[in-house]
Amino acid sequence: MSAAEKPAYPQPVLNRKAGGRLLTDTRYWPTELWKSPWSLPRYRAGALWLAGIIIGLLAIGAGVGELARWGEKLLALLNRSGLPPAAVAWAWVLIKLGCVIGVIVANGLWAVWWERKISAHIQSRVGPMYAGGFHGWAQTLLDTVKLLLKEDVTPAAADQVMHTLAPVVAIAPCVMAFAPVLFGTELAAAKLDVGVLYIFAFAGISVIGVVMAGWASGNKYSLLGGLRAAAQIVSYELPRGFSVVPVLMFAGSLDLAVIDAAQAGYWFGFLPRWFVFYPVVGQLAFLFFLIASVAETNRTPFDIPEAESELVAGFHTEFSGMKWSLFFLMEYGYVLLSSFLLAVFFLGGGAAPLPWLVGIPSWIWMTGKAMLMMFVFLWFRWTFPRLRVDQLMDFNWKFLLPWSFANIAFAGILLFLMQRGWGLR
């Protein structure tokens, strides 16, 4: 091959300077960017949080709120259709179930995207930017398509039946637990007198699915993850339940709608009578419930069952495709559930934060507060390291549980004072 026939390979563009040194342009040099703090990506996380609340309102709130308006008409239509009453009742339950599942699935799509964006901006990145055009909004949608098309691998060592059943056992109670959750004042799939108990009862069942997943995978890391999850979730249910007792004492009911209604009104005409504003007791209960909720949802700093640096991926190491994403839906479903519970129990539910804002529909306030709490969950995850499993248990049994007991006593004292008229009432 002669010199003329030689293919013209692209030559590296290098700036040859004195001394034969090759000097390329420095590609990453952020010192200019950092001169103004407002150009820092992490400061934009705040803006993203605001945007998140607004978009969350539009996406989840609008869907549920608008559906509810049409719900009454739909029920009337069903009643006039001439079907037997039992069939109407069943159809109505199925429709509501479909709505709840819709919320959970939409929340999965939304929360994963939001988490990726928030984590990115906390970490000086930008996150998904291409899929769908605007800030990668379609990223999780396409991820879901990928997960649906993905091969479902069941390891040879796995217990085939249990391995398939585990994600179902994990996600079903999550859907069930959403039945009495208020999405706005009086806006819930089912009105239950014992709503709080019902939610905690069903939220506790999912751990069986997690343990099943850990056991059935035939993997030592999965087994350790499953066992850790069982110990952790069962332990943290106690402070989680007890931290809500002051709220139940103030409201005098286990019905979420009554708890919501009990927080209406304002002190001095501007300070909302939310339970979180009850002196000391409210703040303590809020904090305990928040911490216990983070532990219940297996998120950092309590993500020990799926601690990737120790247990690879914990109980869902051997799951792929849709089975894996059911676990993911469960996790984000419980995050959403906890966010709504925090909003109802402590942040006034559908009540407006200021008297002149009462014209705005309750579901906007409810979803907004829930999204605020969800941001706290996501924020925790990307800021904190992870506790060790025994430290986690110590924290639960030696700190959280005794103090949530003590808080019940504080609540009793406060209630006594308020009834005597010494308090703010």
Binding site: T26, S124, R125, Y221, T300, S309, R386, D390
Partner: protein, 377 residues
């Protein structure tokens, strides 16, 4: 050594144990290290590190390469900080050849090695954060490391395996543009170190996970031959830059940070403080950068050092990196042995992991900051 222990299920109260392979493919073994762990519940009863998955035989390869070609191979040992590897080999070969690098080259060697120490400790800081479960510091650390790599790219065209320090000097010179950028980086970097302290070093959860965990007393550390921040974390003041200064380290004013108890946190914080000291050294070296040649005179294209042996060691990012070089007067080393700090630091693991929990294994292993490229060579 047996790879699989039979389950112990005797009568009485003895617990069943479980054998777990931590690695060679595991998210937090920092490369292809395999740890065979025997667990009773979550507590380790027996641990052995199994190495050799990344063995490339560079010591043997060097016996067939010329001295200039050997420098290229040194880059592949500790690929997270390749400059001190180059330097250690070159110092040993220069001892054999009885030449000394000119002052400007020596200052450049100090600058590049200290920048590399910062880059290497940044990798440690980031990955250790991940080991403990904090993901965010990792990306912060890599953001800063990227600037150092850009500086290196401008200096020698490479970002990981530099081959910058050569026999008798360095490969290329810096200009005012480069030194300005380097100073800009140092100014940018100092406040970031404070940020890491608030984000990770003094985070209560991080302290709970690392303080008092994996404690190595000073005497034990010395007995196992630890070096670098792992030894200094235990409170032993041994630093080759102070005890046997090379490349003019005696002219720079810097402290050797020491830990107090020898726990994981002490080893961690030792490295964080070393980054501050490295910034000091680079600043001083940039301020007093002498002029002159980059290469010593009389380095042949195919050097044939006189028969003999030489040992040179430097304070690499991970400890005391020593090269023992034997020449028979030929064009290639007759024998070369590496005193690899990572390899020697790794040995103590089997001793101190016993009785720890699985989560602590990760914390302890991470705190040693091993690079398997150097362990296996």
């Amino acid at each position: 050594m047996k790879t699989e222990e039979p389950l112990v299920s005797g009568p009485g109260l003895e617990m069943d144990t479980m054998f777990v392979n931590l690695g060679p493919q595991h998210p937090s073994t920092h490369g292809v290290l395999r740890l065979g762990l025997t667990l009773a519940g979550e507590v380790i009863t027996k641990a052995f590190p199994d190495i050799g998955y990344l063995h490339r035989g560079t010591e043997k390869l060097m016996e067939t390469r010329s001295y200039h070609q050997c420098v290229v191979l040194t880059d592949r040992w500790d690929y997270c900080s390749a400059m001190p590897n180059n330097l250690a080999f070159c110092l040993a070969a220069e001892k054999l050849m009885a030449v000394q690098a000119p002052p400007r080259a020596q200052a450049l060697r100090v600058i590049t090695c200290e920048l590399n120490r910062i880059a290497s400790h940044l990798i440690f800081l980031g990955t250790y954060g991940i080991d403990i479960g904090a993901f965010t510091p990792f990306l912060y650390a890599f953001r800063e490391r990227e600037m150092i790599l850009d500086l290196y790219e401008a200096l020698c065209g490479a970002r990981l395996t530099y081959n910058y320090i050569r026999l008798g000097g360095v490969a290329s010179d810096v200009d005012a543009d480069w030194t300005a950028k380097c100073r800009e980086f140092l100014e940018f970097f100092k406040p970031r170190l404070d940020e890491y302290d608030t984000l990770l070093s003094f985070n209560p959860i991080f302290l709970a996970r690392t303080k008092g965990i994996g404690v190595i007393p000073k005497e034990t550390a010395a007995a196992w031959g630890l070096s670098g921040p792992n030894l200094r974390g235990s409170g032993a003041a041994y630093d080759v830059r102070k005890s046997e200064p090379y490349c003019g380290y005696e002219t720079y004013d810097f402290d050797v940070p020491l830990g107090e108890t020898g726990s994981c946190w002490d080893r961690y914080f030792c490295r964080v403080q070393e980054m501050r000291q490295s910034v000091r050294i680079v600043e001083a070296a940039l301020a007093a950068l002498p002029g002159g040649d980059l290469m010593a005179k009389g380095i042949a294209k195919l050097p044939k050092p006189p028969a003999g042996e030489a040992y040179a060691h430097v304070e690499a990012s991970r400890g005391d990196l020593g090269i023992f070089l034997v020449s028979d007067g030929g064009t290639a080393p007759y024998r070369l042995h590496v005193r690899a700090p990572c390899f020697i630091n790794l040995a103590i693991l089997q001793d101190i992991l016993v009785g720890k929990k699985v989560a602590d294994v990760i914390a302890v292993l991470g705190s040693f900051d091993i690079v398997l490229g150097e362990v296996d060579r």
